[in-house]
Every structure is written in C-alpha cells, then in structure tokens.
C-alpha cells in the first residue's frame, strides 16, 4: 500500500465546504443565470409538442430529401418516425429531441467563438485543449453532483451536463477546420486588402464549413448519448423510459425506448452528414482530397 504521507482530509473538507458555500451564497444567482437555457429548452419543447405529428414527420422527411436528393433516406426517416409513434414514444421522443436541439444550439453558440479564438492564437489553444480533454474524459457523474447541488434536479442540470459533454468535438473541429483552410487562398485574400474580419467571414468560415458541420454532427450524436444520464436528473424523455425499464426490470420498455434513441440518432446523423457532404462537393473539396 502507498504510505499515508499527508492527511488529505482537510483538503477534501475544503472542497466540500467551498461547494456548499457557493450553493448557499450564489445558488440563486446561478439559477438566474441559467434561466435563458431553461427558456430555450422549454420553448423548443413546447413548440415541437404544439406542432401536429404529421408536420414534424413531413419536415424531417423533407430535410432528408433536401440533404440527399434521393429517396432512401426519406423513406428510412418516415418508417422510423412512424415506429416511434406506434410504440407510444412520440411525446418522449419530442422531449429528447428538444433537449438534443437545445444542447446542440447552445453548444454551437459557445463552441464556434471558442474554436475561432483557438485557431487564431496558439496560447488559447494550449489553454483550452486540456480543458476540452477534461470535459470529455471526466465521468459525467462527477460534474453532475455539483451541478445538481447548485441547480437542484431538473432540466437545467440535464441541459448543462449535455452541453459539457457534447460541446468539445465542435470546438475542436471548428479550430481544426479554420486552421486547415488553404493558406494560398488566405494569402490571395490578404493580397486584395481584406480586413481580418472579411477573411474570417468571407473565406475561413465558409471553407471550414464542412468540418464545422462534422463537428455539429458529432455534437448531436453525443447529446443523444447523454439523454439516459440526463434523464436521471430530471430531463424526462426517452432516457426516462429506459431508466424506468431498468428499475422495473421491464425489458420491453427499456428496449423500445432505447431503439427510439437509436432511431433519432440515425435520423439526425444521416441528415447532418448528408448536408456536410453536399457542401463539400459544392466547394469542390471532396475531389481535391481524394
């Protein structure tokens, strides 16, 4: 055994106490700060629940067709959505979808500027990269505990946990995409007297778009992977059904809800990927890299 050289109890107590102090003194402020997140999630959720079921199916099928210009994906989407409806998973699917969309939108808002900063300064990249590593490897329960302590169980900690887990790939891929932009094109742009802002929005971001879209695709997938854990702290949705299935040893409930998550994942994965590919062919990157 490793010898006990120092007494670590004060350190542990200090960590616990300081969190408690934060909860006691700053709990309300934190909760107020998180209100926009909750508002976003609730708005998306009630909007999607307000829409008639057939319209949602129509929109998703339409998106699938717009993305691929073929019939295969739209048919898969149609069948998958009808499966969700038939299995009485519609409302839970919508709630899960709302959580995923809210988390993805928030992740985009946070990650794009961060990725841009990282691409522009090596120092920022050196500081942010280990934080991203930590966000991706730290077991989510570790940061769920303090988050739940601060916000109480409910949608806010679920959303925050999902964002923490889902944002890193988007930050990384935004940074990567911007740095991979052809330096010859950037130089040409510079030679025409562009400002840094004109280069960022006119050249770098459009050319990095396929990579950024791949990041968004990753983010939606990781958000969906988080829904079961998020449901443990009150997110509801398909994850909650899975959780209940486990609790009641009701295999069918867990299985079908689990399949529901897979179905959502397939739909959003294929649609975002197809859009990314379409963009790539349009700017001729796919041929260049073959």
């Amino acid at each position: 055994m490793f010898p006990e050289l120092v007494d670590t109890r004060p350190l542990r107590r200090w960590v616990d106490d300081s969190l408690e102090w934060v909860v006691r003194n700053w709990g309300d402020e934190f909760e107020a700060a998180a209100q926009p997140l909750l508002f976003l999630l609730n708005t998306i959720q009630s909007f999607l629940l307000w829409l008639p079921w057939w319209l949602i199916i129509l929109v998703l099928v339409g998106l699938a067709y717009a993305a691929t210009r073929r019939l295969v994906l739209p048919i898969i989407v149609l069948v998958a959505m009808i499966f969700l409806g038939l299995m009485e998973l519609w409302e839970d699917s919508i709630k899960t979808m709302a959580l995923m969309i809210a988390a993805t939108l928030s992740a985009i808002v946070l990650s794009l500027p961060m990725g841009i900063l990282m691409a522009r300064s090596a120092i920022t990249r050196r500081i942010v990269t280990p934080i991203l590593d930590l966000m991706q490897t730290l077991p989510s329960f570790v940061y769920l505990i303090p988050v739940v302590m601060i916000f109480g169980p409910g949608k806010i900690p679920a959303l925050i946990a999902t964002i923490v887990y889902a944002a890193p790939p988007l930050v990384r891929l935004t940074d990567l995409g911007l740095r991979l932009v052809d330096s010859d094109v950037l130089e040409a742009s510079r030679a025409f007297g562009t400002t840094p802002r004109q280069r960022l929005f006119g050249v770098q971001i459009p050319l990095a778009m396929p990579t950024i879209l791949a990041g968004i695709n990753q983010t939606t997938m990781m958000a969906l992977a988080m829904v079961v854990i998020a449901s443990m702290i009150g997110a509801g949705g398909l994850g909650y059904q899975v959780l209940q299935g486990i609790g009641r040893l009701e295999v069918s409930r867990g299985l079908f809800a689990g399949l529901g998550i897979v179905v959502l994942a397939i739909i959003f994965d294929r649609v975002t990927q197809a859009f990314g590919k379409q963009l790539q062919t349009r700017i001729g990157l796919s041929e260049e890299r073959l």
Binding site: A188, S189, A191, F192, G193, P206, L207, R282, I283
Partner: protein, 348 residues
C-alpha cells in the same frame, strides 16, 4: 510621365527565423551567407536585393526554387515584411504604411496573380473575379458588370456561374488573371502565374498576357523559374540565386553576356533566337537600298529566320515605318553561334 520607377526595391534583406537581427548584423559585417546560416540557425531568404521597375515594363525575376524570388515579390505588397531595406511604389514608402493604409494600397494600387490560383472555391467564377472589387467596396451591380467584361476578355464567357473546381488549370488561372485585372491597378504582381500549367497552355497564356499588355500597358513584376518564359515576356530580366541578385538586364544582355557559370547553364539550353532582338544586331547604312521585306524593331531573331529562306537580307523599321537598318542571314547566324563553341572544328 515622371521618371519615378513604379517599383523600387532597395537593399531588401529577408531573414527567416526567431532572431533575424543577429543574423543581419553578422551579414552586414561581411560574414558569408552560409556561415551566418550555420552560426545563427536563421534562414536568409533574400540577401540585399535592389531592383527598380519602370512604368509599363514587364520585369521578370527568374530563379530556381529556393532562390527567394517568391519571397521577394511578396515584399512589394508587404505580404512579407523585410528584415532590412526599403520599398517604394510610385515613390511612396510601402514600409511606412500602417495597416489601414496598407489595406487601401492593396485595394487600389496593386493586384496579384498566384501560382496556385488562390481562388475562393465556394464562389462562382464571376464572384471570384468580382472579389477584389467587393473588398474595395464597389456596388454589386457595378462590380458584376466589370467582372463580366474581364471574364470575356480572358475568354471565359459562358463560365460565369461555374465553380472554380469545375474548370481546368488553365481556365482557373484565367479567372485569377481576370480577378487581378478587374482591379484596374497600375501594377500587377504575378507569382509563377503560369508555372502550374501544361506547356502548351502556358505558351498560350504568355502570348495572351503580352497582347493584353500591349493594350493595357501595366507595370508587371513577373516571377518564374522558366528561363525561356523570362526571355519571351520580359522587357528586363533579373536572375536570382540563393537570395542574391546575380544579373539584371535586358534578355539579350543576359543571353549574350552571362555573368557567371550559373547563368551560362541556363543560357546553354535556351532558344537564343527568341531572346535576341534584330535591333541589337542590325547594321545601319545611310544609303541602304529600299528593302523588299521588313520587320519592326521589336522583332526577334526567331521572327526573321523564316524570311531568310526567300530573302538575303531583311529591313528593320521603327514604329513609324521608317527603315532604320537591315540584318543579313550572316549577322543572325553569328549572333546565335556566339558562346556555343564547345564543338571542335577543323579546316580542310
């Protein structure tokens, strides 16, 4: 027209590395370049180069890869800042400009064509050609109108709404050229603009550039690694090696009087008939007879060679059509034969 050169590069040195000043100090003390690079670990890209380009000239900087020619051209619009030296464009000190002035200078005074085209892959051909105008802040209808005109001039009508990746290399470079010309700047920088193209297409683009130049009369600084290209299009040629300017002069100067072995090597392989103007070898005779056939003073030996199949001598006329001299087949053969005496001859 003022006598001020359009581009004036004075004693420009560029040292790449983390401590260029130390290397520069050593270089100024007269330490050799290799020693400086070995001692400081800095890389010397351009070493004390001076050259000046007159208005309306095509000035070619020729050198092999690694000679610093692409680094040098980027100093003119300050895509690269020099370690030491001065750069004047139309008498204005480029190095003293602040960022805003520099951007204005790039938008209005100088346009550039790149070896790898540098087109924006997400924009159509016409949007690419209009890009510089857009950056300059021209109105949309106006810039599209100008862009359409230049697309026609470079022979790409019908491709306005194609994406760059749908075009061949030669067509893409036409877009690059149109984009630069659309800026209507007096000065054009061309960095190995035709080097990435197939030989036939390259030769066609060279001809087109020269015919455009006769109309537009721009100041063009042209970078190439192709000696033939330099001789063909250059009014003046500078040869760069390892960052040092070795020789500078008219194409004939360089072909007829190569300064060192390095340049002689280029000259040995070159088509001299293309480099030598008949004007520089013609004879003058006040009471010469009226010629049956004549070429202009701009003609080169290769232009008169076929005429000797029919005629013994050919007249040379100035721009006004007045006969100023004549060349004989003998004179041309003499000029072309010079400096090629590596075959033993015997007289019987």
């Amino acid at each position: 027209m003022s006598t001020l050169p359009a581009i004036d590069i004075r004693n420009v040195t560029k040292i790449f590395g983390d401590d260029p000043d130390a290397a520069l100090a050593l270089l100024k003390q007269g330490t050799s370049k290799d020693d400086v690079q070995a001692e400081t670990g800095q890389v010397i890209g351009v070493d004390n180069v001076s050259l000046s380009v007159e208005r309306g000239q095509i000035y070619v900087v020729m050198g092999l890869s690694g000679s610093g020619k692409s680094t040098l051209i980027r100093h003119v619009n300050r895509l690269i800042d020099p370690t030491a030296g001065e750069i004047y464009v139309n008498g204005v000190d480029v190095l003293s400009m602040n960022l805003e002035e520099l951007r204005h200078f790039r938008r209005t005074q100088i346009a550039m064509v790149f070896q790898k085209f540098g087109l924006l892959p997400h924009r159509s051909v016409i949007e690419n050609v209009a890009y510089g105008l857009e950056v300059r802040g021209e109105e949309k209808s106006k810039r599209l109108e100008i862009a359409a005109e230049w697309i026609e001039t470079v022979g790409l009508s019908g491709y306005e709404h194609s994406q760059p990746h749908q075009l061949s290399g030669g067509q893409q470079q036409r877009v690059g050229l149109a984009r630069a010309l659309a800026m209507d700047t007096e000065i054009l920088l061309m960095d190995e603009a035709f080097s990435a193209l197939d030989p036939l297409i390259r030769s066609g683009m060279q001809d087109e550039l020269m015919s455009l130049q006769r109309k537009l009369n721009k100041t063009i600084l042209f970078i190439t690694h192709d000696f033939d290209e330099a001789l063909k299009i250059g009014d003046r040629v500078a040869v760069l090696k390892d960052g040092v300017l070795i020789q500078e002069g008219t194409p004939e100067d360089i072909v007829l009087k190569p300064k060192n072995a390095h340049i002689e090597e280029f000259v040995a392989d070159v088509n001299k008939a293309r480099a030598i103007h008949v004007k520089s070898i013609m004879s003058r005779d006040d009471n010469m007879e009226k010629c049956e056939i004549a070429v202009t003073e701009a003609a080169r030996c290769e232009d008169v060679l076929p005429l000797f199949a029919e005629y013994d001598w050919v007249g040379v006329t100035d721009d006004a059509g007045k006969q100023t001299g004549y060349v004989t087949a003998k004179a041309v053969i003499k000029a072309l034969a010079k400096h090629q005496g590596n075959i033993e001859t015997t007289s019987i």
